[in-house]
Amino acid sequence: MTVGDWPLLAVALPFVAAALTPFVLRYAEAAAPYLLCLFPAAIFAAFAAAIPGIAAGQSLNCGIDWLPAVGIRLSVRVDGLSSLFALLISGIGTFIVLYAGAYMKGHPGIGRFFSSLFLFMGAMLGLVLADDLISLFVFWEGTSIASFLLIGFDHTRQAARRAAFQALVITGLGGLSLLAGVLLAGQIAGVHSLTELLASGEALRGSPLYPLVLALFLGAAFTKSAQMPLHVWLPNAMEAPTPVSAYLHSATMVKAGVYLLMRLNPVLGGTPAWESILPFVGGVTLIGGALLALRQTDLKLMLAQTTVASLGLLVMLIGLDTDAAIAGAVAYLLAHALFKGALFMVAGAIDHESGTRDIRRLGGLRRAMPVTCAAAALAGLSMAGIPGFFGFVAKETLYGALADLRVWAAIALAVCGNALMFAIAGQVALRPFLGAPRATPRHAHEGPIGLWAGPLVFGAKGLAIVLALPLAVSLTLGPAVNAVAGHPVDLTLHALPEHVELPLLLSLLTMALGVAAYLSADRLRSLLDTLAAVLKWGPDRGFDQAIAALLRLATLVTRSLQSGRLEAYITATMVLTALALLVPMTVHGEWPALPVWPHLLLHEWAIVAIAFVGLVAVLRARTRLTAIVSLGAQGFAVATLFMLFGAPDLAFTQFMVETLSVVILALVMTRLKLAERDHRPLGQKVIDGSIAGAAGLGFGALLLRVTQTPFDSRLSDFYEANSRLVAHGRNVVNVIIVDFRGLDTMGEIAVVMITGLAILALVRVRARIVIHKEDDRS
């Protein structure tokens, strides 16, 4: 590993932090958040230092072999797009760690929380930096799992468990879709890495399997980035602690789907399917999310639904697929990550200090929480798209792109969606702070620095970017746009419009509509509530029903296959055994030839006859003594047969085993009653007898057929020839057991040993085990 491999170390660092967190928390206590935030800060610094090189058009590639036999590497690629994401993940992560330190202070599960958070950070960094397609999938699933752990952090509440489970199921299905997608795309293009895949767009788009590849990737992106109707998990994920909502469910993880679409735009984009599905789904999600947001009164839920709407807007822009639209998408992505992360943290701070997140119970907090109010105002103005803030620049850019295309439906959707988000920005960022102070569950006051540092920095960043717009464009936004477009784009953004054109008019219209919506928000909400009452069969209910149906189906299948009756299991096994033996012999015409009359000596016939008599006697035994004696009889007959046919070792062993069997059977049977006669009615006897006869016939016929084929004696010849020369033993059987196949024998004596221990345990457990039904359920 060399200095050039630092991006790999950057991916590994959060995992190291996750492992160290418990120790840091134990020994550093109050200072722990300040120490822990150094990890993401270091990663941020590393990527910030690499910016000039990236901006000059370089891309860093490095990696180590993982499974070289199948071409899988743990490799990363840093270009404009991935470095923008990496900066967001590490930069926001730094303040999230500080924020969480204040927000979760004193919580008993704080170690678990920070560890999960760092696991997520590592997985997310890996996801946006991964070059190898399989690594991409692995990190993608890593983010889903970390998200599951964090949503279900407060696992004693059922709502949190449900939300975590739902998020895992939906994003997990998307993950499987991604795996299928990368495997199929890699197969078609014959590549293993994103770098190579980006160069084989022609081959993919021309492939007859292109629609399938597209569907698989879209399945992954739409589940992760909460496009309708798969968005349900995102609002439910607000069960997570607020730092998680701010970090995973607004700024970073939900952008993974957007990242995937941006990344694959040069490969999969530009086709009619891409340019129709994405804008449609994105547009529906934009309006749907914005309307759902207006319905909410909970600060976090409002923000969550507007996140859904913003993700829809991003997907729509990517689907429009012009350079300007991509520029708008990248700009909006950055703006959204900053203002939404800040507003979530503000919502958390309000909740933390006042005890409620219901906007109807909040008001006049500007005096009690002045710094938080300032941060909220900065972020809110950016979200609303007020001139002077980066949100406005992003919105102007995307309106410009839409205006160029003259797709009026898209323009209408964007204006309506943005107007609604304007209204919600006001509701979230202004309403709690304006007006007369209201009584809240807790007496509100300004929180510790950790709670307001992040929002303030992000809010201020929305202003700072505008002031240094050309620099931001040339260093981060421009390279990202180039990477998404797949070719160099001449990007210029304007802090304020230079001419009065359509985009500016659209912005003004948005603001006018937004003010109207803000003022009539309560009326709109009650209107939407009536509508929602009618349409209560949403996808959220559908998820519950689907899971319940799956469980019922599984129970049904289990019940029918596993009746709990040993008889049924053995019957099934034996029927299948008989079929497996008889059917192939019949199908292939391999039944044995009728044997000639065997030439056995008289005493051999006598022993065989004893074995038969013993078997029949076992079958017909009415008393336990008869059963034991006849079982012994057939055993000794078998032992004698071994003796007669050149196997003295087997004969001795069998004699000893039969003796011991008779002894222990006699010992146990004195306590176990043997039913007087077979319990089975005649019909059952006939059925069982037929199954038994068929199985027996199968084994017998197979054996006869085998003995009628030529015998391959090579292995036996080897043992016979080498037993004395190599292993110095004259008893070939014993030499095979203790020398040639010694390892097998060791396994076998271990089994004997374990059964001995198990029997000892069974005999010693004297306490009567009473099974309580409640114990199973708990």
Binding site: L667, R730, N734, G742
Partner: protein
């Protein structure tokens, strides 16, 4: 029947002879019929017989250690016999032979022999444990 004087008097003698037979059968196993499995079973039957005639506690006392301890020792011995070749640079379970002269008689010592003795202990220990624990519960036939 189990409590008769003849049985009680003869069984220690029979058991002792059986045990000697077990050792003999085990050690000659490499060249003639026999070996650890058979020897172990014979030894187990000797203890089972003694248990029936004199009661389980007497056998346990005579054994000093729990039968499963013998089995555990046997498994350890077998594994060590397999591990020994590793220290001479050979692979696991390669047989090692040495033929030292003791009092002018050549004696064959080998890892397979110790392995077979391990088998003897495992089988005799486990089987004796099974038989004794059942005899203790059942109280004899």
């Amino acid at each position: 029947m189990m409590g008769t004087v003849i049985f009680r008097t003869l069984s220690p003698l029979i058991s002792a002879l059986t045990l000697m037979l077990a050792v003999f059968v085990t050690l000659r196993g490499h060249n003639d019929p026999g070996g650890g499995f058979i020897g172990g079973l014979i030894a187990a039957s000797a203890f089972a017989l003694l248990g029936l005639s004199h009661g389980v506690p007497a056998v346990r006392q005579a054994l000093r250690f729990h039968p499963m301890s013998y089995a555990g020792f046997g498994l350890l011995l077998a594994v060590c016999a397999g591990l020994l070749p590793i220290f001479t640079g050979r692979s696991f379970f390669t047989a090692l032979w040495t033929f030292p002269q003791v009092l002018g008689v050549e004696i064959a010592l080998s890892t397979p022999m110790f392995f077979d003795i391990g088998v003897f202990f495992v089988v005799s220990g486990a089987m004796t444990s099974i038989a004794l624990s059942l005899e203790q519960r059942g109280g004899g036939v």
